[in-house]
């Protein structure tokens, strides 16, 4: 799929990890950027659409990675709601990819002890 591919993660630590993982498994051409923490995702996705790459429809795919915290299901739902509220295609499950022209995906980065 042609176009820019973005992976958005919570902070700088996640950025370093995902960049390293992408390099180690040979995935090139990803734009990996932090969105500033799980509480900022919804506003981030809203504002994202004013960026030239998005306004000019140059983006082929968006991935969101966030910490699962205590409840992976709730984390997934929170990301899904934020994507939905801002007009992005919404994946049906953690790790799934959705969308036709522009694709969205969600991955939980780590599962801490507890229910998840």
């Amino acid at each position: 799929m042609n176009g820019l591919k973005f992976v958005f993660c919570e902070g700088k630590d996640d950025l370093a990890v995902i960049t390293g993982v992408a390099q180690s498994i040979g995935i090139a051409g990803l734009n990996i950027e932090p969105f500033g923490g799980k509480n900022k995702l919804r506003e981030f996705l809203r504002d994202l659409q004013t960026r030239p790459e998005f306004a000019q429809k140059k983006v082929a795919g968006v991935g969101v990675v966030r910490d699962a915290d205590q409840d992976a299901g709730a984390a997934f739902q929170s990301v899904r709601d934020s994507l939905l509220a801002n007009g992005f295609p919404t994946p049906e499950a953690n790790g799934a990819v959705t969308g036709i022209r522009s694709r969205s995906a969600f991955w939980s980065l780590a599962r801490r002890r507890g229910k998840a």
């Binding site: 500033g36 809203r46 504002d47 004013t50 960026r51 030239p52 306004a55 000019q56």
Partner: protein, 319 residues
């Protein structure tokens, strides 16, 4: 105040609509995305109905003698002779009004603005009729230097309208040593001189591009009672350190004199300065509009203060 503009088949705009216009509208975008074209569309639709379009080619662009070849020929989208270009504007307290440019008969709803149709090169210009925009005096500022003699003549209108002190006070924000500006005729033609506390007054042409640009803008606000300012590349020749001061002056004019401003810029510093100045007002009067080419059209994206905050925090390239 203009609240909305709709443009169809004009220059690179196939179909553009921008609503929610504010007192100050800053237009950004890459080269060839229609920033100056948008100013031209505004100038055309706001012009006096009987003088519409006459000087449009020279408002913002340097063109040769053959205005048809250099300008009008390129005004209709894709140069399609069957297509008419239309521009509609909406005011907050009046009816919609518009103009169209065609290669022949007017489109539905448009008539000749006067007794005869106005011919602009190979194009005919039509309007929705009436003089709806007569009270909306529009002044344009290009990046080209102005004529010093004409500036001196124009400044007499500032004096005549008792606006001299007001203009001088506005200019003191960028030139604190300024005491006064006078029109003197020491040679064949009158020139403007600035008293900056030296033994001799100096021609304002020696005061730098920023000073002259602001003198020009402030004079028009005061003397011409302009209601719409169209300013191309507003940051041109202005050091970034005074940009916020200049924007504060423009926001002040927008609020106090009811002036609506449409300006273009390529400068991130200029955007930030406008944002800072807007935040110092009682309400956020800035509309940041980015024009983007999307396939065969140009699209406008409105960037609000929240999105601009995010862009600043995350170092996004928004121009």
């Amino acid at each position: 105040m203009l609240t909305e503009i709709k443009i169809k088949n004009f220059r690179g705009f196939k179909d553009l609509s921008i609503g929610s216009l504010k007192p100050v509208n800053l237009i950004i975008g890459q080269n060839n995305t229609g920033k100056t074209g948008l100013l031209e569309a505004l100038a055309l639709v706001l012009a006096d109905p009987l003088q519409k379009g006459g000087n449009l080619p020279q408002l913002f662009r340097v063109t040769g003698a053959d205005w048809n070849e250099n300008f009008w020929k390129w005004v209709v989208y894709n140069k399609d002779p069957k297509t008419g270009a239309t521009i509609w504007a909406k005011m907050n307290d009046g009816p919609d009004f518009g103009v169209c440019l065609t290669h022949g008969s007017p489109l539905n709803g448009f008539i000749a603005p006067g007794r005869e149709r106005i011919q602009l090169g190979t194009l005919a210009l039509w309007s929705t009729g009436g003089r709806e925009t007569a009270g909306l005096r529009t002044v344009s500022f290009s990046t080209c230097p102005t004529d010093p003699t004409q500036d001196a003549i124009d400044y007499n209108r500032v004096v005549q309208r008792r606006g001299k002190k007001k203009v001088e006070d506005m200019l003191k924000t960028v030139e604190p040593s300024l005491e006064s500006i006078e029109t003197l005729q020491t040679g064949k033609e009158p020139l403007l001189y600035a008293d900056v506390g030296l033994r001799e007054m100096i021609p304002v042409t020696q005061m730098g591009q920023c000073f002259n640009r602001l003198l020009d803008i402030y004079s028009e606000i005061v003397a011409a009672e302009a209601k719409v300012l169209l300013i191309d590349e507003i940051e041109n020749g202005i050091h970034h350190s005074v940009l916020e001061t200049i924007w504060l002056g423009l926001f002040h004019a927008a609020r106090d004199a009811g002036v609506q401003i449409f300006a273009t810029t390529h400068s991130w510093e200029c955007i930030l300065a406008a944002d800072q100045a807007a935040r110092k007002g009682e309400q956020y009067d800035l509309n940041l509009i980015r024009l983007d080419r999307v396939e065969d059209n140009i699209k406008a994206t409105l960037i609000d203060s929240q999105a601009l905050d995010t862009a600043k925090d995350l170092h996004w390239e928004m121009r």
